[in-house]
Amino acid sequence: MEPVGNKEELIRRIAVALRGHEGAQAAAAPPPPAPAGIGTEADRISRFREQFESHGGNFLSASAWEVLLPALGEELRMAGVVALFFPDGDAEARRAAEALVPFGPFTLISPAEARQPVSPLTAGLQTAEFAIAETGSIVQTSRGGTSLLPGLLPDVHVALLSPAAFVDRMEECLAAFGQDPPRNISFLSGPSRTADVEQTLTIGAHGPKKTVAVLLP
């Protein structure tokens, strides 16, 4: 459908409203103050962990895959997960999902199957683009045709984080996209929650009920 309404007229109306008032010709605002850095990579990771856990997220790290896989498998089993999926083209997530199969009653399903209204209890695995230390947020975007389903639909979201993915603050993350952000940038900070019934915090409103951040060895 074609755009409706007269945009020029709206802008003119606003300009007239502003005319004669201080600031109408205000200079462009200076950029916001640069945020202080958090420090080394290890500091960033530990700050992320603290924040992410305060949102109710689970953080897993281990020195080797042999230790990590059974721990993650256990975590998922305990949550009742029976199916795993990963987006097309995410090699790391595929490798992790396939390696997890022996550690549980897990079957691999396709993104299309995960999109059904009624699906088995599913975990979606995905390599995260960024992890923000300040806020304890996992960042997933649609950049380069990346899917957003693993952090959206399933009961459990597993985000795979490489040490290089950690940034201090939101500013550094957004700066990475410059003036051309992808269609969707999502900050995911722990499991989906609501307090709309009697202001009582309840986990698992629409999105994942459990979120696991896995620091890749």
Binding site: R13, A26, L152, R183
Partner: protein, 473 residues
């Protein structure tokens, strides 16, 4: 919705007598106030961020024509179809046309105050669209057929028993008093809607001018679902939601969740720019942006401009002693609490909203918590003055206030009045309380006793004992 703000006093009577509502209000507002204070305390830089947020908002409004023009240009460049609506009726017509032309029969909607303001849902329903509210609180009040009673917690006034009875009736779910069970029922019901809907409708917390992005902040994840799964996304926003740059967003993301719920960050932040691109496995093919003026450009013109800085966090509601007592519905329209007490008269006209600027004790708590430093009490006073200038004040009140001013500014008359009242007090109010006053003055004594004037006025005591401390007299 039809505003009923003119009957604020009658609405309040009803709210004060509603025991379920009173229990909900004391539970909720207390929790919010405490959570906000704790999270602000835990963030040492908050005051600086607050000043920065207030500055950015003010400068944006001072040059809104430029920033809005930039936003329109950038959003269109990235594939959005931008519509502008002068008033509520036009917004309704445009939204209905979009739905009709896109062939939508089912839409999932996430929370939007401006959509409530222009009464979007009935117009869409008239165009043959089933509109399902997907925010749990909004979903509940939609089932109940009621308006929201709080900006960020629309169903605060409902108990779990009431909600379960609703679900029993409308969704054929078994009765339960377990809150997680209720949430599970809503999730199941709404998931099916998300997957089937042809259109997702959202509001916008922020619009970034330099990238044409729409920003949504939610905790449940419904805003995300509705903007990733359906084929069409319609975002409705007031023209004042613009911020100059995407790079300014972190400032506001540090302010909004802390002020609203006391969270360091809300669970989900979505920054949405344009439509599905080549190779994207999902995402809306069409993005319609509907920018609503509905009186805002008029507000921009005058002394109330600062009210447009509001980021709708709800902090001023929670802290307000009047809101805490009467709740949101008493305000009679979409916006309640201190923000509503200013916005409603400005958007619906003063005769309609006249009681609201008076629904304040001028304690100043709202201005103290407002993350963008809107001087709310000052705006109440301005509106009260406008009411007087437009002859909307009761002549008896104007006369009374003039008399009060005359007495208070003349020491001799004040003293004489005090003496007379002192004598009256000794004769009539032996208990030291006034339990009854006639006519209009009964407002002071209807719900509580009014302290009687002191038999010996303070100034007389002062004259007698000036400088003499009672213990070494």
């Amino acid at each position: 919705m039809e505003p009923r703000s003119h009957s604020f006093y009658r609405n309040s009577e009803k709210s004060l007598a509603d025991t379920t509502l009173q229990a909900a209000l004391s539970r909720t507002t207390g929790k919010f106030v405490y959570a906000r204070a704790a999270s602000v305390d835990a963030y040492p830089g908050f005051e600086d961020v607050r000043s920065e947020g207030a500055r950015i908002k003010k400068e944006t409004l001072d040059a809104l024509d430029r920033h809005l023009a930039r936003f329109l240009e950038e959003a269109e460049k990235r594939g959005a179809v931008v519509h502008v609506a002068r008033d509520a009726a036009e917004a309704r017509r445009i939204a209905a046309d979009i739905a009709r032309q896109e062939g939508v029969t089912l839409a999932v909607k996430s929370k939007s105050m401006v959509a409530e303001e222009v009464d979007l849902n009935p117009a869409l329903e008239a165009a043959g669209v089933e509109v399902v509210e997907s925010d749990l609180g909004e979903f509940i009040i939609q089932l109940a057929g009621e308006p929201p009673s709080h900006i960020i917690a629309p169903a605060v006034h409902k108990s779990r028993e009431q909600i379960s009875k609703l679900f029993e009736q409308k969704l054929s779910e078994p009765y339960t008093e377990e809150i997680p069970e209720l949430v599970r029922m809503a999730r199941k019901h709404l998931r099916a809607k998300f997957l089937a809907a042809g259109m997702g409708i959202s509001g916008a917390n922020f619009l970034c001018a330099d990238t044409g992005s729409v920003v949504l902040v939610t905790n449940e994840g419904n805003g995300r679902m509705g903007t990733i799964l359906p084929r069409v996304h319609l975002a409705v926003a007031g023209i004042e939601k613009v911020i100059p740059r995407l790079a300014d967003l972190p400032i506001f993301l540090r302010l909004l969740p802390r002020s609203a719920t006391g969270q360091a960050i809300s669970t989900y932040v979505s920054i949405l720019t344009g439509t599905k691109r080549q190779g994207d496995p999902e995402g809306p093919e069409k993005l319609h942006l509907l920018l609503v003026d509905n009186g805002r450009s008029g507000i921009l013109q005058g002394k109330y401009r600062e009210i447009l800085k509001c980021i709708r966090c709800g902090a001023c509601l929670n802290i307000c002693p009047v809101y805490q007592s009467v709740g949101g519905h008493a305000y009679g329209w979409v916006y309640s609490g201190p923000i509503g007490a200013v916005l409603t008269p400005l958007l619906t006209g003063l005769p309609e909203g006249a009681p609201l600027p008076n629904a304040s004790t001028l304690c100043g708590a709202c201005a103290e918590v407002c993350p963008v430093k809107i001087p709310l009490p000052k705006l109440f006073l301005e509106l009260r003055a406008d009411e007087r200038d437009q002859g909307l004040k009761n002549p008896a009140e104007v006369f009374g206030m003039k008399g009060y001013a005359a007495v208070m500014s003349r020491a001799g008359i004040l003293e004489a009045m005090e003496r007379i009242l002192g004598v009256l007090s000794r004769l009539f109010f032996k208990e030291g309380r006034v339990t009854w006053l006639p006519l209009k003055l009964s407002g002071w004594t209807g719900k509580r006793d009014f302290p009687a004037p002191a038999p010996v006025p303070f100034r007389k005591l002062w004259k007698k004992h000036r400088g003499i401390r009672p213990w070494n007299r």
